[in-house]
Protein backbone atom coordinates (compact mmCIF):
# COMPACT_ATOMS: atom_id res chain seq x y z
CA UNK A 1 0.00 0.00 0.00
CA UNK A 2 2.75 2.43 0.99
CA UNK A 3 4.69 1.48 -2.08
CA UNK A 4 1.68 2.05 -4.31
CA UNK A 5 1.02 5.43 -2.79
CA UNK A 6 4.60 6.54 -3.30
CA UNK A 7 4.48 5.40 -6.92
CA UNK A 8 1.33 7.39 -7.50
CA UNK A 9 3.00 10.38 -5.92
CA UNK A 10 6.05 10.12 -8.09
CA UNK A 11 3.87 9.85 -11.15
CA UNK A 12 1.89 12.90 -10.24
CA UNK A 13 4.21 15.49 -11.72
CA UNK A 14 3.54 18.16 -9.14
CA UNK A 15 5.09 15.81 -6.62
CA UNK A 16 8.57 17.27 -6.45
CA UNK A 17 7.45 19.12 -3.37
CA UNK A 18 6.48 15.84 -1.77
CA UNK A 19 9.66 14.19 -2.81
CA UNK A 20 11.44 16.95 -0.91
CA UNK A 21 9.13 16.65 2.05
CA UNK A 22 9.50 12.90 2.05
CA UNK A 23 13.27 13.19 1.91
CA UNK A 24 13.15 15.52 4.85
CA UNK A 25 11.11 12.93 6.70
CA UNK A 26 8.21 15.32 6.91
CA UNK A 27 5.76 13.29 4.92
CA UNK A 28 4.08 11.31 7.59
CA UNK A 29 0.74 10.87 5.92
CA UNK A 30 0.79 11.63 2.25
CA UNK A 31 -1.94 13.50 0.44
CA UNK A 32 -4.86 11.37 -0.61
CA UNK A 33 -5.20 11.25 -4.34
CA UNK A 34 -7.82 11.32 -7.02
CA UNK A 35 -7.94 7.52 -7.02
CA UNK A 36 -10.21 7.87 -4.01
CA UNK A 37 -12.82 9.64 -6.15
CA UNK A 38 -16.05 7.70 -5.87
CA UNK A 39 -17.22 7.61 -9.50
CA UNK A 40 -20.49 5.87 -8.77
CA UNK A 41 -21.45 8.37 -6.09
CA UNK A 42 -20.51 11.39 -8.19
CA UNK A 43 -22.45 10.10 -11.17
CA UNK A 44 -25.63 9.36 -9.22
CA UNK A 45 -28.58 11.28 -10.59
CA UNK A 46 -30.46 11.66 -7.32
CA UNK A 47 -29.91 11.89 -3.58
CA UNK A 48 -31.05 8.33 -2.89
CA UNK A 49 -28.63 6.74 -5.34
CA UNK A 50 -25.80 8.99 -4.18
CA UNK A 51 -26.40 8.06 -0.53
CA UNK A 52 -26.38 4.40 -1.50
CA UNK A 53 -23.16 4.76 -3.44
CA UNK A 54 -21.58 6.50 -0.46
CA UNK A 55 -22.75 3.67 1.80
CA UNK A 56 -24.80 6.14 3.81
CA UNK A 57 -28.14 4.36 3.51
CA UNK A 58 -30.90 6.42 5.12
CA UNK A 59 -29.17 8.95 7.35
CA UNK A 60 -30.92 10.30 10.44
CA UNK A 61 -31.99 13.94 10.43
CA UNK A 62 -29.79 15.95 12.74
CA UNK A 63 -30.17 19.39 14.24
CA UNK A 64 -26.46 19.30 15.10
CA UNK A 65 -25.51 20.08 11.54
CA UNK A 66 -25.69 23.78 10.77
CA UNK A 67 -25.83 24.83 7.15
CA UNK A 68 -25.33 28.44 6.09
CA UNK A 69 -26.68 29.28 2.65
CA UNK A 70 -28.78 32.03 1.12
CA UNK A 71 -32.58 31.68 1.06
CA UNK A 72 -32.49 32.98 -2.48
CA UNK A 73 -29.37 32.69 -4.59
CA UNK A 74 -28.65 35.83 -6.57
CA UNK A 75 -27.03 33.65 -9.18
CA UNK A 76 -27.25 29.88 -9.39
CA UNK A 77 -23.75 29.75 -10.88
CA UNK A 78 -22.08 30.69 -7.61
CA UNK A 79 -23.89 29.88 -4.39
CA UNK A 80 -21.92 30.07 -1.15
CA UNK A 81 -22.63 27.14 1.16
CA UNK A 82 -21.07 26.33 4.51
CA UNK A 83 -21.60 23.55 7.00
CA UNK A 84 -20.60 23.02 10.61
CA UNK A 85 -21.09 19.70 12.36
CA UNK A 86 -21.48 19.62 16.13
CA UNK A 87 -21.65 15.85 16.12
CA UNK A 88 -18.67 14.39 18.03
CA UNK A 89 -16.32 12.29 15.93
CA UNK A 90 -17.19 13.90 12.59
CA UNK A 91 -15.09 12.28 9.86
CA UNK A 92 -16.57 13.75 6.71
CA UNK A 93 -18.96 16.40 5.44
CA UNK A 94 -20.64 16.14 2.04
CA UNK A 95 -22.93 18.45 0.06
CA UNK A 96 -25.67 16.95 -2.08
CA UNK A 97 -27.96 18.92 -4.38
CA UNK A 98 -31.34 17.31 -5.05
CA UNK A 99 -32.19 18.84 -8.42
CA UNK A 100 -28.77 19.08 -10.06
CA UNK A 101 -28.03 16.71 -12.97
CA UNK A 102 -25.81 14.79 -10.55
CA UNK A 103 -26.57 15.02 -6.84
CA UNK A 104 -23.23 14.76 -5.05
CA UNK A 105 -21.33 18.06 -5.23
CA UNK A 106 -18.48 17.57 -2.79
CA UNK A 107 -17.23 15.41 0.01
CA UNK A 108 -14.68 16.65 2.56
CA UNK A 109 -12.66 14.33 4.77
CA UNK A 110 -12.02 15.85 8.18
CA UNK A 111 -8.94 14.41 9.90
CA UNK A 112 -8.65 14.77 13.67
CA UNK A 113 -7.31 18.21 14.51
CA UNK A 114 -9.32 19.81 11.72
CA UNK A 115 -12.56 21.51 12.67
CA UNK A 116 -15.73 19.92 11.27
CA UNK A 117 -16.51 23.10 9.38
CA UNK A 118 -16.14 23.79 5.65
CA UNK A 119 -17.24 26.48 3.20
CA UNK A 120 -17.35 26.32 -0.56
CA UNK A 121 -19.42 27.59 -3.49
CA UNK A 122 -21.66 25.43 -5.63
CA UNK A 123 -23.71 25.61 -8.80
CA UNK A 124 -27.47 25.14 -8.60
CA UNK A 125 -29.34 24.30 -11.78
CA UNK A 126 -32.67 25.41 -10.27
CA UNK A 127 -34.47 25.96 -6.99
CA UNK A 128 -33.58 22.90 -4.94
CA UNK A 129 -32.97 21.31 -1.57
CA UNK A 130 -29.31 21.24 -0.63
CA UNK A 131 -28.38 18.46 1.80
CA UNK A 132 -25.42 18.23 4.12
CA UNK A 133 -24.39 14.69 4.98
CA UNK A 134 -22.13 14.08 7.95
CA UNK A 135 -20.34 10.87 8.81
CA UNK A 136 -19.44 10.63 12.49
CA UNK A 137 -18.13 7.53 14.25
CA UNK A 138 -19.18 5.49 11.26
CA UNK A 139 -22.79 6.72 11.32
CA UNK A 140 -24.49 9.09 8.89
CA UNK A 141 -26.55 12.19 9.68
CA UNK A 142 -28.17 14.72 7.40
CA UNK A 143 -29.84 18.12 7.23
CA UNK A 144 -31.26 20.08 4.32
CA UNK A 145 -32.28 23.54 3.26
CA UNK A 146 -34.12 24.85 0.22
CA UNK A 147 -32.31 27.47 -1.86
CA UNK A 148 -34.34 29.40 -4.40
CA UNK A 149 -32.68 30.29 -7.66
CA UNK A 150 -34.01 33.45 -9.27
CA UNK A 151 -34.09 34.34 -12.88
CA UNK A 152 -33.58 37.94 -13.69
CA UNK A 153 -31.67 40.48 -15.71
CA UNK A 154 -33.18 41.97 -18.80
CA UNK A 155 -32.22 39.30 -21.30
CA UNK A 156 -31.07 41.86 -23.87
Amino acid sequence: MDQTRRDVLRASGGASLFAMLAAAGLLRSGPTLAADWNKKAFESKNIKDALEALGAGSPADSADIVMTAPEIAENGAVVPVAAVSKIPGTESIAFLIAKNPTALAASFNIPSGTEPSVSTRVKLAQTTDVHVLVKANGKYYMTKKEIKVTIGGCGG
Binding site: G152, G155, G156
Partner: protein, 207 residues
Protein backbone atom coordinates in the same frame (compact mmCIF):
# COMPACT_ATOMS: atom_id res chain seq x y z
CA UNK B 1 -43.11 68.02 -44.46
CA UNK B 2 -44.81 68.86 -41.23
CA UNK B 3 -41.95 67.32 -39.30
CA UNK B 4 -39.53 69.47 -41.22
CA UNK B 5 -41.38 72.66 -40.36
CA UNK B 6 -41.57 71.74 -36.73
CA UNK B 7 -37.87 71.09 -36.71
CA UNK B 8 -37.08 74.51 -38.09
CA UNK B 9 -39.39 76.01 -35.51
CA UNK B 10 -37.73 73.97 -32.82
CA UNK B 11 -34.21 74.88 -33.80
CA UNK B 12 -35.05 78.57 -33.81
CA UNK B 13 -36.56 78.38 -30.35
CA UNK B 14 -33.68 76.38 -29.03
CA UNK B 15 -30.89 78.40 -30.53
CA UNK B 16 -31.76 81.13 -28.06
CA UNK B 17 -31.91 78.84 -25.08
CA UNK B 18 -28.68 76.93 -25.48
CA UNK B 19 -25.34 78.57 -24.84
CA UNK B 20 -22.68 78.37 -27.50
CA UNK B 21 -20.39 76.36 -25.26
CA UNK B 22 -22.92 73.65 -24.40
CA UNK B 23 -23.64 73.43 -28.11
CA UNK B 24 -19.93 72.96 -28.67
CA UNK B 25 -19.66 69.99 -26.24
CA UNK B 26 -22.72 68.46 -27.85
CA UNK B 27 -21.15 68.76 -31.29
CA UNK B 28 -17.95 67.27 -29.93
CA UNK B 29 -19.89 64.39 -28.39
CA UNK B 30 -21.61 63.61 -31.67
CA UNK B 31 -18.36 63.85 -33.62
CA UNK B 32 -16.64 61.68 -31.04
CA UNK B 33 -19.24 58.94 -31.40
CA UNK B 34 -19.13 59.08 -35.18
CA UNK B 35 -15.37 58.72 -35.07
CA UNK B 36 -15.25 55.96 -32.42
CA UNK B 37 -18.24 53.72 -33.20
CA UNK B 38 -18.53 51.15 -35.96
CA UNK B 39 -21.45 49.30 -37.50
CA UNK B 40 -22.00 45.84 -36.04
CA UNK B 41 -24.56 43.46 -37.53
CA UNK B 42 -27.94 45.14 -37.94
CA UNK B 43 -26.76 48.08 -35.79
CA UNK B 44 -25.55 50.45 -38.48
CA UNK B 45 -23.89 53.84 -38.00
CA UNK B 46 -27.13 55.55 -39.04
CA UNK B 47 -28.41 54.66 -35.58
CA UNK B 48 -26.22 57.46 -34.20
CA UNK B 49 -28.20 60.03 -36.16
CA UNK B 50 -31.05 61.71 -34.34
CA UNK B 51 -34.51 61.96 -35.81
CA UNK B 52 -36.62 65.03 -35.06
CA UNK B 53 -38.07 63.73 -31.82
CA UNK B 54 -34.66 62.69 -30.54
CA UNK B 55 -33.09 66.02 -31.51
CA UNK B 56 -35.73 68.02 -29.69
CA UNK B 57 -35.62 65.80 -26.60
CA UNK B 58 -31.81 65.85 -26.55
CA UNK B 59 -31.65 69.61 -26.90
CA UNK B 60 -34.21 70.33 -24.21
CA UNK B 61 -33.17 67.82 -21.59
CA UNK B 62 -36.36 65.87 -22.40
CA UNK B 63 -38.44 68.90 -21.48
CA UNK B 64 -39.48 70.57 -24.75
CA UNK B 65 -41.64 73.69 -24.85
CA UNK B 66 -45.28 72.61 -24.67
CA UNK B 67 -46.38 73.93 -28.07
CA UNK B 68 -43.45 72.30 -29.83
CA UNK B 69 -44.03 69.00 -28.03
CA UNK B 70 -47.70 69.01 -29.03
CA UNK B 71 -46.89 69.64 -32.68
CA UNK B 72 -44.36 66.84 -32.80
CA UNK B 73 -46.63 64.46 -30.89
CA UNK B 74 -49.27 65.17 -33.50
CA UNK B 75 -46.80 64.24 -36.25
CA UNK B 76 -45.99 61.01 -34.46
CA UNK B 77 -49.65 60.29 -33.87
CA UNK B 78 -50.53 60.74 -37.51
CA UNK B 79 -47.83 58.27 -38.51
CA UNK B 80 -49.29 55.45 -36.38
CA UNK B 81 -50.49 52.64 -38.62
CA UNK B 82 -53.61 51.24 -37.01
CA UNK B 83 -54.77 47.76 -38.10
CA UNK B 84 -56.77 47.97 -41.32
CA UNK B 85 -59.30 45.45 -40.00
CA UNK B 86 -60.08 47.70 -37.03
CA UNK B 87 -59.42 44.81 -34.67
CA UNK B 88 -56.91 45.48 -31.86
CA UNK B 89 -57.11 42.32 -29.80
CA UNK B 90 -54.76 39.44 -30.54
CA UNK B 91 -53.78 36.46 -28.39
CA UNK B 92 -52.80 37.32 -24.82
CA UNK B 93 -50.74 34.12 -24.48
CA UNK B 94 -48.55 35.17 -27.38
CA UNK B 95 -48.50 38.68 -25.89
CA UNK B 96 -47.13 37.36 -22.60
CA UNK B 97 -44.20 35.76 -24.46
CA UNK B 98 -43.46 38.99 -26.32
CA UNK B 99 -43.65 40.93 -23.04
CA UNK B 100 -41.22 38.53 -21.34
CA UNK B 101 -38.70 38.42 -24.17
CA UNK B 102 -35.96 41.03 -23.86
CA UNK B 103 -34.15 40.31 -27.07
CA UNK B 104 -34.46 42.45 -30.21
CA UNK B 105 -32.65 45.02 -32.29
CA UNK B 106 -29.15 44.72 -30.78
CA UNK B 107 -26.09 44.04 -32.89
CA UNK B 108 -26.44 40.35 -32.01
CA UNK B 109 -29.99 40.13 -33.34
CA UNK B 110 -31.32 39.85 -36.89
CA UNK B 111 -33.92 41.92 -38.70
CA UNK B 112 -37.23 41.13 -37.00
CA UNK B 113 -35.68 38.16 -35.19
CA UNK B 114 -33.58 37.62 -32.09
CA UNK B 115 -30.14 36.05 -32.12
CA UNK B 116 -31.94 32.79 -31.28
CA UNK B 117 -34.29 33.06 -34.24
CA UNK B 118 -37.35 33.92 -32.16
CA UNK B 119 -39.59 36.84 -33.17
CA UNK B 120 -38.45 40.13 -31.60
CA UNK B 121 -39.29 40.67 -27.96
CA UNK B 122 -40.91 43.79 -26.56
CA UNK B 123 -38.87 43.85 -23.30
CA UNK B 124 -42.05 44.94 -21.50
CA UNK B 125 -41.28 43.27 -18.14
CA UNK B 126 -37.87 44.93 -18.14
CA UNK B 127 -39.67 48.15 -17.21
CA UNK B 128 -43.26 47.29 -16.22
CA UNK B 129 -45.11 45.13 -13.78
CA UNK B 130 -47.73 43.34 -15.89
CA UNK B 131 -48.94 39.91 -14.77
CA UNK B 132 -48.56 39.87 -10.99
CA UNK B 133 -47.28 36.30 -11.18
CA UNK B 134 -44.04 37.56 -12.70
CA UNK B 135 -42.18 39.06 -9.76
CA UNK B 136 -39.09 39.92 -11.76
CA UNK B 137 -40.13 43.20 -13.33
CA UNK B 138 -38.58 46.61 -13.75
CA UNK B 139 -39.68 50.00 -12.51
CA UNK B 140 -38.77 52.36 -15.34
CA UNK B 141 -42.40 52.23 -16.47
CA UNK B 142 -45.57 52.21 -14.38
CA UNK B 143 -47.43 49.12 -13.27
CA UNK B 144 -49.73 47.67 -15.91
CA UNK B 145 -51.21 45.06 -13.56
CA UNK B 146 -55.01 44.80 -13.80
CA UNK B 147 -54.81 47.20 -16.72
CA UNK B 148 -58.16 46.40 -18.34
CA UNK B 149 -59.87 45.69 -15.04
CA UNK B 150 -59.17 49.20 -13.80
CA UNK B 151 -59.40 51.10 -17.07
CA UNK B 152 -62.09 49.25 -18.99
CA UNK B 153 -61.97 46.93 -21.98
CA UNK B 154 -63.73 49.03 -24.62
CA UNK B 155 -62.61 49.80 -28.17
CA UNK B 156 -61.35 53.29 -27.27
CA UNK B 157 -58.96 51.88 -24.69
CA UNK B 158 -57.88 49.17 -27.12
CA UNK B 159 -57.08 51.74 -29.77
CA UNK B 160 -55.24 53.89 -27.26
CA UNK B 161 -53.10 50.99 -26.03
CA UNK B 162 -52.32 49.92 -29.59
CA UNK B 163 -51.20 53.46 -30.40
CA UNK B 164 -49.18 53.83 -27.21
CA UNK B 165 -47.24 50.63 -27.91
CA UNK B 166 -46.85 51.51 -31.58
CA UNK B 167 -45.49 54.96 -30.78
CA UNK B 168 -45.26 56.14 -27.17
CA UNK B 169 -43.88 59.46 -28.39
CA UNK B 170 -47.26 60.30 -29.95
CA UNK B 171 -48.59 60.71 -26.42
CA UNK B 172 -45.55 61.98 -24.53
CA UNK B 173 -42.83 63.30 -26.77
CA UNK B 174 -39.82 62.45 -24.64
CA UNK B 175 -41.21 59.28 -23.03
CA UNK B 176 -38.55 56.74 -22.07
CA UNK B 177 -40.57 54.05 -23.83
CA UNK B 178 -39.37 52.88 -27.26
CA UNK B 179 -41.62 53.38 -30.29
CA UNK B 180 -42.08 49.65 -30.79
CA UNK B 181 -44.18 49.78 -33.95
CA UNK B 182 -42.64 52.91 -35.44
CA UNK B 183 -39.12 51.48 -35.08
CA UNK B 184 -40.10 48.22 -36.76
CA UNK B 185 -39.38 46.24 -33.61
CA UNK B 186 -42.84 44.66 -33.34
CA UNK B 187 -45.29 43.73 -36.07
CA UNK B 188 -48.96 44.66 -36.14
CA UNK B 189 -49.89 41.14 -35.02
CA UNK B 190 -47.41 41.29 -32.12
CA UNK B 191 -48.77 44.63 -30.92
CA UNK B 192 -52.29 43.19 -31.05
CA UNK B 193 -51.09 40.31 -28.88
CA UNK B 194 -49.72 42.81 -26.36
CA UNK B 195 -52.99 44.75 -26.40
CA UNK B 196 -54.74 41.46 -25.62
CA UNK B 197 -52.34 40.81 -22.75
CA UNK B 198 -53.48 44.07 -21.17
CA UNK B 199 -57.09 44.15 -22.29
CA UNK B 200 -58.42 40.64 -22.81
CA UNK B 201 -60.69 39.95 -19.82
CA UNK B 202 -59.30 36.39 -19.81
CA UNK B 203 -55.69 37.56 -19.62
CA UNK B 204 -54.05 36.84 -16.25
CA UNK B 205 -53.22 40.56 -16.12
CA UNK B 206 -56.89 41.19 -15.38
CA UNK B 207 -57.37 38.37 -12.89
Amino acid sequence: MKTFQATIFGMAALAIAISAQAQDYRTQAINSMHRDFHAHGIAGMDRLDEDTVQTICNRTGNNPPKDLAERLQQDQFEAIKYPADGNYLGDWKAGEKIAQRGRAMTWRDKIGKTSRGEPNGGSCYNCHEIDKKTTSFGSIGNSLAHFGKTRGYGPAVQKYVYGKIYNAKAFNLCSAMPRLGHSGTLTEAQIKDLVALLLDPNSPVNK
